[in-house]
């Protein structure tokens, strides 16, 4: 661990609750499609609408995806039950949400941040999503004071897994890492598309502050955080707000607060006093869920390689640090297999990592050229037949045309390796022709080198390797 993160002598204690929509074909308790973005109220049925007499039937695929999440987060999967969480809101047609309460599906796991710190997972349970309300008129899109509200029940009954993290997060950056890593895991295991912008992944943060060694402070729950970047900002703002209260002699009030992206602040949503009494009780319309050991084992066995394992693999293949930028970004983009394929085709794996990172991962693009084509280009580069500048030019052309033979492209461009003797002769010619610049350079005026290099490159028609030219000039200066 790095140094203890503090703001004005206070430690942060942060726990995240993340809701993810599962990528199932149908809803958690009915046969309606689970699909985002269609016309309102087109994926509904008696169960979704909570019509009198309709009954829920648990979706096996949702259970399987929820188990995948639990197992990927090192949880124990257990026999569990469903409860009704009773509260009245227009977008919840039954006036209760079917959720899990005292006995959830997944318990006691952890998520490892790229740097190695483990954040505990208390539980990851199944529940149904609500519909979506749009409040028209009034101010701020709130129900209060609006002229009317529109409700889309397409989202009602969509399966969610709520992942409740332990308050092991100590910095805004760790919170961002946690959510980023979690997102990658969810995508890797096919459980969710986990898009915070579309709401298929939603994050609430419980934030409190304390003096080192002091008991836990009063926490506030921050809602409406819609991006990883906002998460870091919201946590930092909230911590500073609480510290200011304490320093001002006031107490932090336990409450739910709303993050406002526009003013960069959190605002009171509701206090503990007006919190709902959910009157949980065992859902009598469902029976306990007890996944057989063979089912759990099969789900575990079918889990794909997780991002942490992919980073370790790429790190050990390339020697680059597993939490370094290149490995992180390439694995996050899911391009590590491609890097290894390029290496398998004969290229130096470190150069492969650099080129994939620069040409694709950082551009937000997906490798579309045959691994062998990139490998051939890298071989030319590492054997000295292309300078690094030429290599980039050739690669850009291969990328632009979706593949190609590096040697042919290099030849067409007239790129051919200059032997050292030819280059040295060219350097000597330029030194002779530009005696003034050379004298200044020898007198220690580094700026003068630019003119010399430029002249040499011009003389070589761009074939000279800039690095080799600089090295030659330096050695001749002595």
């Amino acid at each position: 661990m790095s140094d203890v993160f503090m703001i004005d002598g206070y430690e942060l204690v942060v726990g995240l609750e993340v809701h993810v929509e599962l990528a199932t074909v149908t809803k958690l308790f009915s046969a309606s499609a689970n699909r985002f973005g269609d016309d309102p109220n087109t994926h509904i049925d008696p169960v979704t609408l909570g019509l009198p007499g309709a009954l829920p039937v648990l979706n096996r695929q949702a259970v399987e995806l929820a188990m995948r999440i639990g197992l990927a987060l090192n949880c124990s999967v257990q026999a569990c039950t469903f409860h009704r969480k009773n509260y009245f809101y227009p977008d919840m047609p039954k006036a209760y949400q079917i959720s899990q309460y005292d006995v959830p599906l997944n318990i006691d796991g952890w998520l490892e941040l790229p740097g190695g710190k483990r954040i505990g997972i208390e539980r990851a349970h199944l529940e149904e999503d609500t519909g979506k309300s749009t409040h028209v008129g009034g101010t701020g899109g709130r129900i209060h004071g609006s002229d009317y509200s529109l409700i889309d029940f397409n989202r009602a009954g969509v399966p969610l897994v709520e992942i409740v993290g332990r308050p092991d997060i100590a910095t805004p950056d760790e919170a961002k890492q946690y959510v980023t890593e979690l997102r990658q895991i969810l995508v890797a295991i096919g459980a969710s598309d986990a898009k915070m912008e579309e709401g298929s992944m939603r994050c609430d943060a419980n934030v409190s502050v304390r003096r080192p060694g002091a008991p836990l402070g009063t926490r506030c729950e921050i809602k409406n955080v819609n991006s990883v970047r906002s998460l870091g900002r919201a946590i930092e703002y909230e911590a500073r707000r609480q510290i200011a209260l304490i320093e001002g002699g006031e107490k932090v009030r336990q409450e739910t607060r709303h993050w406002d992206e526009n003013d960069g602040r959190t605002h009171t949503l509701r206090t503990k006093e007006d919190a709902d009494d959910y009157r949980y009780f065992l859902e009598p319309d469902l029976v306990p869920l007890a996944p057989e050991a063979s089912w759990i084992d099969a789900v575990r066995a079918a889990l794909p390689m997780l991002p942490r394992e992919r980073r370790a693999r790429l790190s050990s293949a390339t020697g680059a640090p597993s939490d370094g930028e290149a490995v992180m970004v390439v694995v996050e983009r899911g391009q590590d297999d491609y890097v290894l394929a390029v290496a398998a085709a004969g290229a130096d794996v470190s150069r492969a990592l650099v080129h994939v990172k620069e040409a694709y991962a950082e551009q937000g693009a997906t490798p579309a050229i045959p691994a062998a084509d990139l490998a051939r280009m890298i071989v030319l580069e590492t054997s000295g037949k292309l300078t690094s500048t030429q290599a980039k030019t050739v690669l850009a052309e291969i990328v632009a045309s979706g593949g190609g033979d590096a040697e042919k492209i290099a030849a067409a461009k007239g790129f051919e390796a200059m032997d050292t003797g030819a280059l040295e002769a060219m350097v000597d010619d330029v030194i002779a022709a530009q005696a003034d610049a050379w004298a200044k350079y020898c007198a220690g005026e580094e700026k003068a080198m630019g003119a010399l290099v430029g002249a040499i490159m011009k003389a070589s028609k761009g074939k000279a390797d800039g690095k080799a030219v600089t090295a030659l000039l330096q050695s001749k200066r002595g």
Partner: protein
């Protein structure tokens, strides 16, 4: 025609073409026309639908297709079972105008068996009551004495069969709502094992207790209906994954050697005539070679209390969806919250409001352990008591109701006295067991008395075996 009074005979006659389903229906509709105004069994008589169904049955017979074991049998449905396109009210104003877009599973199954639905019957609002006086649409009167109640909550279904408006009917039983009105109206009423009949499409009162069952004129009809409607339904997660019950085979089986349990600590307070009929039923079984054994159910006396916490708790959750927004009644008001309140104030009757408040309270933070939590423990104790009792007995007999049908209005202002009507029926629901009421002679004022046969989970065969025997030896018959 009129000699065809039971479902089995009607179905046989229709299947063999000796009578048409339409002719049978006309007979029943004529009886409805003659007497419904003094009984009020129905919220809605579905004449046109019934004629269409009967005509289809006749067409099937004509074409050589078997319409099924309930071919042409006129059946009435309690108005808390969803019927596609046909109003389903639960006898509540809150559901005014609502037509379900789907059929309950039982409705589908009976239709597939050839039944003809004659109408939707009256009930205590949302099945909350024991007299059908809590209906928003008026009382259902007892066909044996129209100054008296029909029992409840399935009073309309019981009265419909007793009055000959339908050959059979369906009710729902949460704490006795089939068996008690069956006893008061002198017909057979069955609450099957929880999970044998699908609840899909039954508007929920208390989901862990609700179970659909038949009212019939005799035990054999009840067996036939139960076989037609039971069996696993993938749409109901609490439905037991097994095929339909098979009980007809046990109807003629000798009761010799069966052990019949008598509860020694049965709560008292029953009419003396009711106690006398129960004693006679034990004697009759003993005379036929059964052994009467004493069993104890010490927790039974807490059943009523536990029930009046568990059922309202579930009801408070089940009924929270009625808000005037998506279906049913809406009373407009200045803003949305005022609309909710006005709708519910106008839409729900007093008993429903009472139970919603009771249940909400019982589940609330700080009260849960003392009320709902304790009630669940009592529920477990009752199941344990029954399990011990059924080690000694194959079935248990009790009165169905401690009293015969009481005058309309006698108990409406005394909810606790009304709740006591279900003291013998409630424990079965808490345990999830089957039980049925068989008419067995008469009590005060010559009114029908029912004896209740209780059996362990999935003990329907032995239950029907004993019920069929009691039916054969029952004294005299009701007035």
């Amino acid at each position: 025609m009129t000699e065809l009074s039971n479902a089995v005979d009607i179905a046989n006659a229709v299947r063999h073409g000796s009578v048409s389903a339409v002719a049978v229906l006309d007979e029943y509709l004529a009886r409805i026309d003659a007497r419904e105004s003094s009984i009020h069994a129905f919220n809605l008589v579905t004449r046109e639908q019934a004629r269409a169904m009967a005509a289809k049955v006749d067409a099937d017979v004509k074409a050589g297709r078997d319409p099924g074991p309930l071919a042409g049998v006129p059946i009435a449905l309690k108005d808390n079972m969803c019927t596609r396109g046909v109003p389903t009210t639960c006898s509540s104003r809150i559901l005014e105008g609502w037509k379900p877009p789907y059929d309950a599973t039982v409705v589908t199954r009976l239709a597939e068996a050839g039944a003809v639905f004659v109408g939707k019957t009256n009930l205590d609002e949302f099945a909350m009551g024991s007299s059908t006086e809590n209906s928003a649409f008026g009382v259902t009167y007892n066909p044996h004495d129209t100054t008296r109640v029909s029992g409840g909550s399935s009073g309309g279904s019981a009265a419909a069969v007793a009055a000959g408006f339908a050959a059979a009917s369906l009710g729902s039983d949460t704490g006795g709502s089939i068996r008690q009105p069956a006893a008061l109206c002198g017909v057979v009423g069955v609450k099957p094992t929880y999970g044998t009949v699908s609840r899909y499409g039954l508007v929920a009162f208390a989901s862990s207790l609700d179970q659909i069952g038949p009212f019939t004129v005799d035990v054999r009809d009840a067996a036939v209906l139960l076989e037609a409607m039971s069996g696993h339904d993938p749409l109901d997660s609490t439905s037991i994954p097994q095929p339909a019950l098979s009980v007809q085979g046990s109807l003629d089986r000798d009761v010799k050697g069966l052990r019949v349990g008598r509860i020694t600590d049965l709560p008292g307070g029953s009419d003396p005539e009711v106690e006398a009929r129960l004693a006679e039923s034990f004697d009759a079984l003993a005379a036929a070679g059964a052994t009467v054994v004493n069993v104890e159910l010490p927790s039974m006396k807490y059943g009523l209390t536990a029930y009046y916490l568990i059922a309202p708790a579930e009801a408070s959750s089940n009924l929270a969806r009625y808000d005037g927004v998506r279906y049913g009644l809406r009373v407009d008001a200045a803003d949305t919250n005022a609309m909710y309140m006005a709708t519910r104030a106008a839409g729900f009757g007093d008993e429903v409001k009472r139970r919603i408040m009771l249940g909400t309270y019982a589940l609330s933070a700080g009260y849960y352990d003392a009320y709902y939590g304790k009630a669940l423990k009592v529920r477990r104790l009752i199941s344990d008591d029954f399990a011990r009792a059924y080690q000694k007995a194959d079935v248990i007999l009790t009165p169905t109701s401690p009293i015969v049908a009481f005058p309309v209005g006698a108990k409406v202002d005394d909810p606790l006295s009304m709740y006591l009507c279900d003291v013998f029926t409630i424990p079965t629901n808490l345990a999830g067991h089957p039980a049925m009421s068989v008419p067995f002679g008469t009590g005060a004022h010559g009114l029908p008395v029912g004896v209740q046969v209780l059996a362990p989970t999935l003990g329907e065969s032995v239950m029907f075996q004993v019920a069929a025997h009691l039916e054969r030896v029952a004294p005299g018959g009701a007035k």
